[in-house]
Subunit: 227 residues, 2 copies
DNA sequence: GTCTATAGACGGATAGAC
DNA sequence: GTCTATCCGTCTATAGAC
């Protein structure tokens, strides 16, 4: 058995990606220097350029590593549900769970750093930087193309533009929840005990999102009241 | 009438704050240099340190300028509603509108730059940087202290921990909505026409939030399903 | 209050030895 | 693949003239 270097748990490339997830989450992309990052990864400063080419390419690699797998998991889950249902339409509740469950379960995944990534992802949704937006949009496209028709089928009576906005709101609630779950104390005054119990959080969030998705449509009067 | 400098519409201090809102929104705090910022403001590089002391102090001033007024407006609106209602409890719908309306109306306010601030605010909610979090929490505290009891009174039957989570979700939906309203096309595939009609957006968002707030509580079975 | 000039630290990226 | 050394640009902040 060959001697292994002192460095692992993982290879340099992997350690850099792990460090990047944590530091980008904490300090943002521009606020994270390659010096700090490589130091945290136990790698040399030049290693980022050797393995990824540039800082920007590293950022892209960070998202590709996880998002493709996450969205594949969502689609597989939806496939499974539809197969189980035979020809019957799925409930909105089940479709919501298939989407949000993947993210929420990662909150608990402290072992391999999924928790860092999911929080990074949550804060990146509200980053207006164009290349980032384009990348995120591209990586989500397959899942969106699969879930939107599923919701349309589950809610055939809902106007399409209303549905789009409600999916948008749901997406936003999820994004904020995964980015800022540890700020509930802003509202509570103290931290609830269950904040990292993914199953309880999924039940709470799904109840909220399902009700919002199925809300009665707004009326012309509601629009007038908003003056 | 004395000759005015070529520089105004506003004073240097104001122009710096306006430029800061726009650039911080676009590039984040760390991604915005004082060189670019003062250039955009038509001011000298040294002006930031003269007027604010440091970059960090400028960041704080950017939030103080708007948030105190916004939250005072929210509280005044709630005062007015309660006075109108005499002793009767307010509807959750009305309380929600009093809170979200202030933010949503600013989305349309391109004239004095409120739109830039509101988008900056939306993305700052998911910034984990501790001093920023502390500042935001501090500036929101008076409004939170006023709105939480109002919701509790409107929903006396709802368990307190459930209410806290639902307020948290509502806060998050609003944050994402104001930060990323121009990304609906991610879901839609094309941009809806009404994205900047504040009244329509308020009606849509309020319908969603009210339903989520009033959702039936999750059951023990829901938690089990989330495995 | 506004300017120029500059200090002094830090940024990403690369060349070239091993 | 990994290292050291270094180029060169940018950063915040300040000193001091006007």
């Amino acid at each position: 058995m060959p001697l292994r270097s002192i460095k692992p748990p993982h290879e340099t490339r992997t350690r850099i990606l792990d460090a990047a997830e944590e530091l980008f989450m904490q300090h943002g992309f521009e606020g994270t220097s390659m010096r700090l990052l490589t130091a945290k990864a136990g790698a040399n400063l030049a290693a980022v350029n050797y393995h990824f080419g540039s800082k920007d390419a590293l950022i892209e690699a960070v998202f590709r590593r996880r998002l493709d797998a996450m969205n594949a998991q969502r689609i597989a889950e939806l496939d499974r549900l539809e197969k189980e249902a035979g020809g019957r339409a799925l409930s909105p509740n089940a479709i919501i769970r298939a989407f949000v469950g993947v993210s929420l379960r990662m909150i608990e995944d402290a072992r391999d750093g999924g928790r860092n990534f999911i929080r990074l992802l949550g804060r990146t949704y509200s980053d207006p930087h164009k290349p980032i937006r384009a990348l995120i949009g591209q990586l989500y496209a397959p899942a969106m193309a699969r879930f939107k028709p599923a919701f349309e089928r589950a809610l055939p009576q809902m106007p399409r533009d209303e549905l789009i906005w409600r999916l948008h709101f749901m997406f936003g609630t999820l994004a904020y929840t995964i980015a800022a779950t540890d700020t509930v104390h802003l509202i509570a005054g103290c931290k609830p005990e269950d904040r990292y119990d993914a199953r309880l959080l999924e039940a709470r969030l799904t109840a909220f999102l399902e009700a919002g998705l199925l809300a009665p449509p707004h009326t012309a009067e509601d629009v007038k009241k908003a003056a």
